[in-house]
Symmetry: C2
Subunit: 202 residues, 2 copies
């Protein structure tokens, strides 16, 4: 059966990816080695090179997988929201893209890496756009339910992503500071407000 991979192979691959996630989070991608990943996964380097041609390739595969999963999580979390309760919908949207320390470290380093490689950069930009476009409709419909309409959806999307990323660093740098978290949420509200206008009631 061409195009199929054996279960054995798939399991090995997955364990390598999982191990790599841990190693990258602990020592950073740059400082990670093929050997460390293999040790952690319980395989030898032979197994690694039978599945990936380089650490870079694995890195990309890992990022694809994780960001796809996150995108799925977001879509799923937003699929069964209560249309009558826009407040909780927005809360669900924010919760769906949580500030995860380890994952932030990895994406930060991957972003830096991607900025050095035009091909990767485009892949990353596209993925960012996909995530933005998945989340955006939720906010738009929620706002509509609150009697507000969004004029420029792209602008709102970019603003939300920027605020999400920018404030995530602050929250992670000062994890014990409740005020920082509060300001983060306030900023979200302010942006939603600034990018939508009250509708004439029907």
């Amino acid at each position: 059966m061409p195009g199929t991979v054996s279960k054995r192979r798939a399991r090995t691959r997955q364990r390598l990816l999982d191990a790599a996630l841990e190693v990258f989070a602990e020592v950073g991608f740059g400082r990670s080695t093929v050997e460390q990943v293999c040790d952690r996964a319980g395989f030898t380097r032979g197994a690694f090179y039978s599945n990936f041609s380089s650490l870079d390739e694995l890195f990309l595969a890992l990022w694809e997988e994780r960001s796809a999963r996150m995108l799925g999580d977001v879509r799923r979390a937003l699929a069964d929201i209560d249309p009558a309760d826009p407040e909780s919908a927005v809360r669900a949207a924010i919760a769906a893209a949580p500030v995860d320390d380890a994952w932030y470290r990895i994406t930060a380093e991957f972003t830096a890496h991607a900025l050095r490689n035009p091909g990767l950069r485009r892949v990353m930009a596209a993925r960012e756009r996909a995530i933005r476009d998945a989340i955006l409709p939720v906010f738009v419909t929620a706002l509509r339910r609150l009697g507000r309409r969004v004029s420029d959806e792209s602008a709102l999307g970019d603003a939300l992503v920027a605020v999400h990323d920018g404030t995530a660093v602050q929250v992670l740098l000062q994890p014990d500071d409740a005020a920082v978290r509060a300001r983060r949420e306030a900023l979200f509200r302010n942006v939603l407000d600034a990018y939508s206008t009250p509708m004439e009631s029907a």
Copy 2:
């Protein structure tokens, strides 16, 4: 003269730092080696170890130096602004913290690095706060001149930094997209607007 360093030593040190900046920007801190830095600087590893005990130490020194310089640049740029021209003051403030590709890559990686190390994390958080507090007054006085007062300065400061960082990534990922840059500036204006309220005229 205790506490002093010879000129020769200072020059060597500086050349090593400059070379390191280039190397880090090109291959990333994690993938950089002592040898690469020395080759680039035109020294041997002996000179390196006579100045730094490890790449990590140099990395920290480099970041200190650069971020201090940037802080100085900001302060200087904002020292001689025209008080009668708040528009250009804000423009100067934005220009003072430019979106520099190489520098962004390094700080991104350093941030990830710092998040793994509580001591470094606190150093970084303090530095971020210093930068924020240096820029903040400019915006506050500029807004006042425009007849608006800022109620919560900390909130505005955090918001500006978050927007700056969050949108910087977007700009770097889509360097040719003018719309992204435009949205970035619009977001700045929106934030300035949201975090200030019109004053009763005197």
